[in-house]
Symmetry: C2
Subunit: 227 residues, 2 copies
């Protein structure tokens, strides 16, 4: 069977599509683990609870990997999406705030598997500084700038209360950080060229609270596409 | 100055609007803390980095709290949004999985302040069962069903690996849980009347990775509206 070679032509892709790619990546990874080599948009749509036409439209953004009556090559699509998401290279990451949430992230095995390598943890609490989390010794926040420069850190995770978040974010940016994964419950203003991805847990909990209080107003019980 | 009394008429509200309400709630809460009584859609738009017309459209969904040339009454709007989000009542919550992430949630002071009361923690690890987190003793998972029934628990937080998530979710639903805050990296199928809010941290990290790898393709550096 002849494999058609397709060139990857990245168009201007909407945020909504990008937002859905990690979920495609997860499902394709599970299919791969289960030894599935090919899948039709129809089958994938049944598993993912989205329409087959949405799947075709989404994946067409990347040059169209599917072939009529033949389906998608699972491994090829998985690897292409990995490239698009930047998962085909290593990202050096630090965590600011070595409390429960920072420790949870440092201990999460799947991040490393996907190329996100936690290189350092920082805290201001003298009781935490010097302790080890997943084999990494927690450093004092005064070492931040030097460490970022020396170790070529690209991504900083902010797992601190909102009080100090803006000040620390400014220090991170001045030190050359290109991306902030922000768990502090505040919005950060960053210059062009620096990206922020917010995870505001209490806002997620409020959406849940809304939905449990207004089940009848909600279109479906499971808001997959929100992720 | 005469206060106009407005009746709250809840229309069919889009997910996008609901998704933005917690952020309005946060900004209004900060304004209140700073003693601000009134704010125009224009001022609010500058603080929140969204257009004034978006703010007016969003808030009009709830019957329109603003008055031309007068602005919004911050406290009134704050309390109305709280009602809409179901934050005007207490929600009893349990956490399944008392690892770092479960502990982080149990220790988060703002959840309780907003009416989300962590009543119980559950784990399968005998080394964790019996220990205390924020004053709550961790119970064995075998006590789950009885506890949910006795304590009238509405919301369950799933902070466990995906391996057992589907099985535990089914037990929760059978025991009468109405909402699952799901941190397990898998999608849950739930019957009508049960809501799931997913927090897939690795998907958030992948979006960050995409954006740091494709900064030029991204429309703005800070994706506020994604939250």
């Amino acid at each position: 069977m002849k494999e058609r070679i397709m060139t990857l032509e990245v168009k201007k892709i909407s945020k909504a599509v990008i937002g859905r790619l990690p979920r495609y990546y997860r499902y394709l990874g599970e299919l791969l683990e289960n030894g599935v080599e090919r899948i039709s948009s129809h089958e994938l749509s049944e598993r993912m609870h989205v329409t087959a036409s949405q799947i075709r439209q989404d994946l067409n953004n990347f040059g169209g990997f599917g072939q009529q009556g033949y389906g998608y090559n699972v491994e090829f699509l998985y690897l292409e999406i990995a490239k698009i998401l930047g998962l085909d290279r290593q990202h050096n990451l630090i965590i600011i705030g070595a409390g429960n949430l920072g420790q949870a992230i440092a201990n999460y095995p799947n991040f490393q598997k996907r190329g996100f390598v936690v290189r350092g943890l920082f805290d201001i609490n003298p009781e935490i500084v010097g302790t080890f989390v997943n084999g990494i010794q927690v450093r004092g926040i005064e070492e931040l700038e030097q460490y970022i420069e020396q170790e070529e850190i690209q991504i900083a995770t902010l797992t601190i209360p909102k009080t100090n978040a803006v000040e620390i974010a400014n220090r991170l940016i001045a030190a050359g950080i290109k991306a902030i994964w922000n768990f502090a419950h505040t919005d950060l203003s960053v210059p062009k060229g620096v990206v922020v991805e917010n995870v505001h847990l209490s806002e997620s909990l409020m959406r849940l609270s809304y939905r449990v209080s207004n089940t009848e107003n909600w279109e479906s019980s499971n808001a997959f596409e929100e992720q």
